[in-house]
Amino acid sequence: MRKHRWLMLLALLIAALAVAGCGDDDDSGNGDKGSSTGSSGDQAGIQKNDKNSSTKITVGSKNFTEQKVLGEIYAQALGAAGYDVSKQLNLGDEKTALKALEGGDISMYPEYTGTALLSFFGYTADKLPTDPDEAYDLAKKEFAGKNLTAFEHTPYTNSNEVAVTQETADKYSLKTISDLEPVAGKLTLYGTPECRQRLDCLLGLQKVYGLKFKKFTPVAIDLRHEVLSKGQADVSIVFTTDPQIFKEKFVLLEDDKQMFPPFNSTLVARNDVVDKAGPDMAKVIDMVDKGLTDDVMQELNARVDLDKQTPEEVAGQYLKETGLVG
């Protein structure tokens, strides 16, 4: 009898450990534990200012990897500067995020200039500036009308890209999208269902580049790499910072006619929060944004999507590796 009890205790212990292990995984999977880290004693780049602790900031983000990483980076960086930071990193699509921002549930979240102009401010794709700075200036002006401040855009852009495999690129010697013209009739293009009628997708490729593909096939957004690597698609529409591009050695064709509008990220914040936060906030955001190039963002996304680290860990690594937080 006694022996049985010991065995049962052991079994319980193992079960408890297993459950705890799973729980940890789940938590980190969400990357959304409420309170922020940061505020370590040692400062290399971002200086801690105790006065900032009276300003409450809720950092938001939409619900995909890159947004969550960005949200974590801003939250941890602002935390390191002494602000009282909390997080709300799973807000769904851009319309939900904007509503949360305007309603004051969050103080800020990163948005893409192109998305803002298309989705919030009623610009059609053919009216979008192709220059990143112009697009940012326009978005900034529009956001200002909503009592929102759009901080300087990041160096990286996350726009649509035309991707082919290395073999296809070699076979037809493709470097730019224009190079597709003589061979498009032999190639199948895969893109999201939206792509078919969008000026910054199939419609634009037809009108601006004069490409006539053999066939366009709509697929769910998360299949965009698989169809290419499995050989079903000759050409697929992907996003600049997709980590799979690097892993699968896809070739991105240069948009030589500047058809794809810029999708640089800009942190959008409520004016009342910006005023209350003082000058430190803009300084911190500027320091953070500087290092966010295409390659860096792709690497950070890769650490989450491919290496299965949490956005929280990856954001911490970024701040450490850039020397912003010691």
Binding site: A125, D126, R196, R198, P218, V219, E226, K230
Partner: protein, 233 residues
Amino acid sequence: MSDFFDAIDFIFSERDSPAGGARVGGLGEIWELMWPHLKLSGASLGIACAIAIPLGLWLGHRGRGGFIAINASNVGRAVPSLALIAFFVAYIGVGFTNLTIALVLLAIPPILTNTYTGVRQVDRDAVDSARGMGMTGAQVVRRVELPLALPLIFGGIRTSAVNVVATATIAPLAGVVTLGDPIINVNTYGDEGRLAAAIVVALLAVATEVVLGAAQRAATPRGLRLDRREAVT
């Protein structure tokens, strides 16, 4: 209510896409989307019938093994079609075949269950007397069990048909542009386009019900029909 009228207007008149660059709406486009929708639904339902009815008849006739077969197919029903499509992408890619397989798997369980149940519910006396008249097993199935089970079999087909017509709206996520396109691409078609497509799909499902109902009445043996005039007199 004005949303509803905007949607009706979308069905009948073409307009510029809210995203710019494309013309959307109008009967022409609705038909362009509806035709692949009908083809996909029809093919899936046809194949599902070709598999489920003979299988159900055979299982019902034997009276054994049906429980396992029906439960197996019902478990399949719990797997969302979208997951099935994603699963098949790795083996057969996206497109008509992939979607057809996923929709066939969706359509089989109601037809199979109803066919099996229909055959099992046939009066044993009728089957015994058929045997007594010297009918072979195949003849019993064809001349007694199938006709008597028909109303239930059709009930299964109608359930499946409505499921398939409604579920074919996910096809644009896997390579076939159906009436689901305006539902998925609200940025291109606008809210009125989304609602319009939903209305058309609903009407299509109702029409399918009506057509199959008529077919059922035509196929039901005279002896089983509840003819109203005769019932009154």
